[in-house]
């Protein structure tokens, strides 16, 4: 019979000390140093360089581009990191000095990180790239990430807001379709009233998702107003055009015979639920991002698209993202090679076709099949989608955007719920917002 040996304290301490020491040493060990960046462009490198590419959406979006990139640049490994809780984790990574080499950041985030020296100015890289065609990009998109002459990103795909409409509902109500060449707020309201049948839960228009500020931003633009001055240092919520715009749509929301109440929408998933109601055949018109096309293909009714209704001017909002190089990257030259490849005509097309968006390069949008076109057996004015990039604006990017939007959002809440008039509350809020966004 064997006797079990007891573990002596000395042995225990030796063993546990060894493990603890090894663990601490492993945790504290520096990440393997990257290969010398200077070797890039000189052909084959001694060791592969790894580039971290951080983005909020799945890696599948760049899978095609990544595959061809790896074939062309076998010595550069691109490690795609999908970062959840993007709005909080990107600042946390910045604070820790561990931002990915290339970050695909949201609009305001790109500017804010640039202003705070978390991204480098990549204009010198652009200037150093032979034959780089900056004019190929839509002007608004190309100019957006530039602060005081410094460029903090290259855009890829864009998602513009347009108006989708259910042609069958229009026919059933005997209402004429929106005119592609002239579609005003007044037209929108008239048509919506003509279609609305609240007793049978049919509405002419989607509701305004109150908490989703993009709706109010684009409405202000369409009336010649704006949330902010062009340099984002001053709040223009108190300007007459902005006040009129918000009040116009608030009155329509509160009317009850044009669009459903916010509570019927928000409780089942916010703005997305509005798209579900359109797909369910309950809504005549839906002003929304072009990404909802997919949900309409099998909806069982004929639909078409038209630009967003205009008032003082034709305008809309477009979403998208910018690719940047982080200041802490130790492989900036290599990072640029990937960034430039990913935002090339083909790179943007690859991503856009995966996301059903148009690209921010005109040349990407000339490649067929067009990503924003869905296969349906009726006529759709698909050209409305890329056309919106020629006149639409990008989500504003003031400093301290979150706090500013809280102040504006609280005021909008009051207006859209009928508890305040825009003319009364916006002049109170505007100086407070200005104080927040001017504190760069």
């Amino acid at each position: 019979m064997t006797q079990r040996e007891s573990l002596s304290r000395r042995t225990f301490l030796k063993v546990s000390g060894t493990f603890a020491g090894a663990a601490v040493a492993a945790a504290c060990a520096p990440v393997a140093a990257p290969a010398d960046d200077g070797a890039m462009g000189e052909g084959a490198m001694a060791e592969p360089v790894t580039i971290r590419y951080g983005r909020h959406d799945p890696a599948a979006g760049v899978a095609t581009t990544l595959e061809s990139f790896q074939e062309e640049y076998p010595d550069i490994v691109v490690s795609v990191e999908q970062i959840g809780e993007f709005h909080a984790k990107i600042p946390a990574l910045a604070a820790a000095g561990t931002l990915p080499d290339v970050v695909r950041s949201w609009e305001a985030m790109a500017l804010d990180l640039g202003r705070n020296n978390q991204f480098i100015d990549i204009q010198p890289y652009v200037d150093g790239e032979p034959g780089y065609d900056a004019d190929d990009f839509y002007e608004n998109w190309w100019n957006y990430p530039v602060v005081e002459g410094k460029r903090f990103g290259i855009p890829d795909a864009a998602a513009p807001h347009i108006t989708f409409y259910n042609a069958d509902l229009f026919d059933a109500a005997g209402v004429e379709y929106p005119n592609k060449d002239s579609f005003t707020w007044t037209d929108f309201e008239e048509k919506a009233r003509g279609i609305s049948d609240p007793d049978n839960k049919i509405w002419g228009s989607e509701t305004i998702p109150v908490g989703w500020h993009m709706y109010s931003v684009k409405q202000a633009w369409q009336n010649g107003g704006s949330y902010y001055s062009p340099d984002f240092r001053e709040c223009w919520l108190d300007k007459e055009e902005t006040i009129q715009a918000i009040q116009f749509w608030a009155d329509m929301l509160l009317d009850g015979n044009v669009m459903p109440s916010p509570s019927q929408i928000v409780g089942i998933g916010g703005a997305g639920a509005a798209a579900e109601l359109l797909a369910a055949g309950k809504i005549g018109m839906q002003r929304m991002g072009s990404w909802i096309t997919g949900s309409l293909v099998d909806a069982g009714f004929r639909f078409n698209v038209v630009a967003e209704p205009s008032q003082a001017r034709r305008d809309t909002i477009t979403h998208g993202a910018f690719n940047n190089i982080s200041t802490t990257s130790e492989n900036k030259d290599t990072a640029w090679i990937w960034l430039n490849y990913n935002t090339s005509t083909q790179g943007i097309y690859n991503y856009a076709s995966n996301a059903n968006f148009p690209g921010t390069r005109r040349s990407s949008n000339e490649i067929e099949p067009f990503p924003w076109v869905a296969e349906v057996d009726f006529e759709v004015d698909w050209d409305v989608v890329p056309d919106a990039l020629t006149y639409g604006h990008i989500l504003p990017g003031p400093a301290n955007e979150g706090e500013a939007l809280k102040l504006i959002g609280d005021a909008l809440d009051k207006v859209y719920s009928g508890n305040a008039q825009a003319a009364d509350i916006f002049p109170e809020v505007a100086p407070k917002v200005t104080a927040v966004i001017s504190d760069v």
Partner: protein
């Protein structure tokens, strides 16, 4: 061999007591390291940060007491969040305790399916706050929710539970009662440990059920009640998941709890220093309330075999 009044130094290092201590510390070392890194460190850091302005994407700047001063002088939302939290605590804690005690008394009876009922009432307590909140969003839904549809069956008109400024806090208080299983189990355990001889003596004296409840059950339960109230207040002041998931603090900031306001300052506005200062105010609030309760406890909490 010469001896001195002091033991040789080497004896201390080789003494059994010292070696035992080393082993003990070695065992707790992983926890201590974890505590320092993930709890103690952040606590100290948050205190230091509360005197700095730090957006995370730029270096911190010393701000002195500015955060603490502006919190009470200029931040209207802070005042709103304190008031919302106070109303929630003052209503939800007493109601949940009464409900938990009532359920515990019922589930302490000998009835059929006792195990099922005990499990059923405790079950929501094991559901995460976020998952439970999502379920309640659907329950409160104006058109599809079980609440309004249940009211419709009784011929009553449904309400907009989460988007009506007057109703929304009450709706969250009702949701918070879903977790009543936790204090209920503590009351149940206390009830089952109740000395039966006291009830037998009361029976001999001819006491009725009501007088037995107030003269025996309640005093004997007072330590459990005290514990549940302390824990209930701490949890209520820290309420976060429900407003975050169900209302986002709205409508019109009617459910802007202190915890949510803190979170928004930290992770939406990136005002880490300000959020840290708010966290310390929250800590002081909880600490003050707890000390206050301990001060009152001597007057009403009865410990069997001990002084009041």
């Amino acid at each position: 061999m010469t001896t001195t009044g002091l033991a040789p130094r080497s004896n201390i290092w080789q003494s059994r007591r010292f070696r035992d201590a080393i082993v003990a510390y070695a065992f707790i070392l992983p926890w201590v390291i974890g505590f320092i890194l993930f709890v103690g460190g952040p606590i100290v850091a948050s205190f230091v940060l509360s005197f700095f302005r730090w957006k995370m994407i730029a270096p911190p700047r010393f701000y002195g007491l500015t955060h603490y001063i502006s919190m009470v002088t200029t931040d209207e939302l802070f005042r709103i969040s304190i008031w919302v939290t106070f109303k929630f605590v003052i209503i939800s804690v007493p109601v949940s305790q009464v409900l938990a005690l009532g359920l515990a008394l019922l589930l302490n009876q000998r009835i059929r399916g006792l195990g099922f009922w005990r499990s059923a009432f405790y079950l929501p307590a094991v559901v995460s706050g976020v998952a439970g909140s999502i379920i309640w969003v659907w329950m409160y839904h104006v058109e599809l929710g079980i609440v309004n549809n249940g009211l419709a069956l009784m011929g009553l008109e449904g309400r907009n539970w989460l988007y009506d400024r007057e109703l929304v806090l009450g709706s969250l208080i009702v949701k918070s009662l879903w977790n009543v299983g936790i204090p209920m189990v503590i009351y149940l355990a206390a009830l089952q440990g109740m000395p039966q001889q006291l009830y037998e003596a009361a029976d001999i004296d001819g006491s009725g059920e009501v007088s037995k409840f107030f003269a025996i059950t309640l005093p004997m339960l007072s330590p459990a009640i005290f514990f549940n109230i302390v824990m209930g207040i701490i949890a209520s002041v820290q309420t976060f998941a429900e407003p975050y998931v169900m209302t986002g603090g709205g409508p019109d900031n009617a459910t802007l709890f202190l915890g949510l306001h803190l979170y928004q300052n930290a992770f939406h506005y990136l005002k880490m220093g300000y959020a840290s200062a708010m966290a310390w105010i929250m800590f002081l609030l909880i600490f003050g309330l707890t000390v206050f309760q301990f001060g009152l406890a001597g007057r009403w909490v009865y410990y069997e075999g001990g002084a009041r």
